[in-house]
Symmetry: C2
Subunit: 395 residues, 2 copies
Amino acid sequence: MEKNVLVLGGGMIGSAVAQDFRERGGAKVTVADIRQESLARISARTGAAVLRADVSDLAVLEEAVRPFDLVVGALPSALGFRTLRALIEAGKDCVDLSFMPEDAFDLDALAQERGVTAVVDCGVAPGVSNMMVGYAASRLDVREDVLIYVGGLPVQRRWPFDYKAPFAPHDVIEEYTRPARFVEHGRIVVKEALSEPELVDFAGVGTLEAFNTDGLRSLLRTVDATRMKEKTLRYPGHVELMRAFRETGFFSKAAVDVGGQAVRPLDLTAAILFPKWSFEDGEADLTVLRVVVEGRRGASRERHSWDLLDYFDPESGLRSMSRVTAFPAAIVTRFLAEGRFCKPGVHAPEALGAMPGLLDLVLNELRARGIEVGGSVVMPEPAEDASSRRSPSRA
Amino acid sequence: MEKNVLVLGGGMIGSAVAQDFRERGGAKVTVADIRQESLARISARTGAAVLRADVSDLAVLEEAVRPFDLVVGALPSALGFRTLRALIEAGKDCVDLSFMPEDAFDLDALAQERGVTAVVDCGVAPGVSNMMVGYAASRLDVREDVLIYVGGLPVQRRWPFDYKAPFAPHDVIEEYTRPARFVEHGRIVVKEALSEPELVDFAGVGTLEAFNTDGLRSLLRTVDATRMKEKTLRYPGHVELMRAFRETGFFSKAAVDVGGQAVRPLDLTAAILFPKWSFEDGEADLTVLRVVVEGRRGASRERHSWDLLDYFDPESGLRSMSRVTAFPAAIVTRFLAEGRFCKPGVHAPEALGAMPGLLDLVLNELRARGIEVGGSVVMPEPAEDASSRRSPSRA
């Protein structure tokens, strides 16, 4: 029998989840939101059942989820942690897309105790990227390099930003200021956001610029690697402008006296960037993701790599960032509904990637939705050979 | 007998005027200011007499100037016009460095009536640049091209601005936003500030970037030329960042709602730029000026050009911007004191440049103060010859 799925939040992501179930079936979906106009739009566009409710009220939430088998969380990140805890306490399996700042693993013991399977961070990166890393990490005996590049961009570049934001400028600027955690020599190191810019070519997109941001999240804990980093991609030049903005003080949270008023520069900056960074109706965006994992398997080296590329879909009206975030969550929700993944506890997507065959299933489902994903495994020559070639006289 | 000169304003410029008279004589100088600490510093450094008075009060001003033969105005630009009018009404010859936004020529009739000789805009540009243009314009029958490049810069470039401001950021940003008036085809045209950037080489400084600003002032009225423009110089890259700031809205005077407070972005920007654009104690600046005037004299073409270059003087502690602004005014004040220039009315410096021998005198005085000024006159081949060379078959 078809399962009943409740999607919490009828924003861009929640409505894209509903749209995926409408087009491809697999569960009966209801979308809960406080905003009547969002619900009306979702109802008209996806045929999903809707439920007007303020699910930020935990008593309302508990009542709302009762009739459902599964829950997809697509609420703002500030609500993510307490919502997840409430879902686990209510005994509901769930897939979370809130990208909460807190550590969801703090709820792992509770989820095991309640017999709840919860998958968090189930978008594109974090999300698909974690599955790719989880897959490769499970294949390798020694994980030497884990590298993730990801970016969401407008298709058309416009001066001076060459960028528009699929979410509020505050959240983007947070990425541009929060210190970035990476792994070097097997240990976590912290680097300045926006540092170490480098140019990288992507087939179909051209040259982009990658720079440090804090995006590894659960991978810092779940994957044991010598080196690991995630970098954000933008069109070349954007990062230099953002560095100049930050250096000037436009991203500062420390209030400045302006004619007797205390003003946080960040708040003004976010306010004036909002209209400039908003996509216009029907404006096309794209998402690009590259994951490279290299290490040793027995005596040989292996390098696993994937490139993902996706565009705005004019037919559905869904922006690429909504597609690549919502579709993995919808696919994983079906796995939970079908019992393919049932393991009480809180899991990040790398746990699914490590399960035999599961990554291929996910990637094929993404391809069926028009997302381009290519992957390859190569076996570079062992380092020993390379070094001996450099000293032929030793032969 | 030595004349008595009153300098209004004991800021950077006023104190540099006093310092010049201390070192080179020519008049007995008194500096008037409301700020006791400025007067104490001037007294200690220049030996000038000081007068504590609020000369923004016109009754106080009238009383203060009574015993003096000549007045140098070095007050903020907002006070410039009404101060000049009061000086003229009091019958005092004067040299003004307030760079007022109003049109000083509106006081010309009054000055003629009162028999007062007033010279305004008597710094480097406007100032020396006007004298150069006035000289060349008086030599030529037809003035075709008048071009002025000017910039005040820190000697050391530091990311991201490659710039520090010798005056408040508000005034610099005003230059970056006010539409720029030029002459093309003999008519005044208006262009966007910061537009038409071009790279220009200066011996001793390297490559700078010149862009449109509104700096021609009196020349728009006094010189009849086919083409005339003034451009501001910065290290390359600065203008692109300023264009991005302006495009983002950081220079806007329209209030933005920031969490319920109405904030003018320009005010916040000026507040956070102020410490970043301030010169440190003893930090070296430089001033660079290029003036090129080309036209016809009888049947032949002439191109007059000058390059001026000046640096911070560690001995006197005077920044170059103070030197190149104050010294021309001090030199012209001596001309007035000596009766070399006595012509009731309000004059811009191009009127002095047009007087035989006067420009050379000024430039030699500047050279004596360590300011490098080079000039040349060349006679390019007439345009007719060039065009006939391009079509040799016509010969």
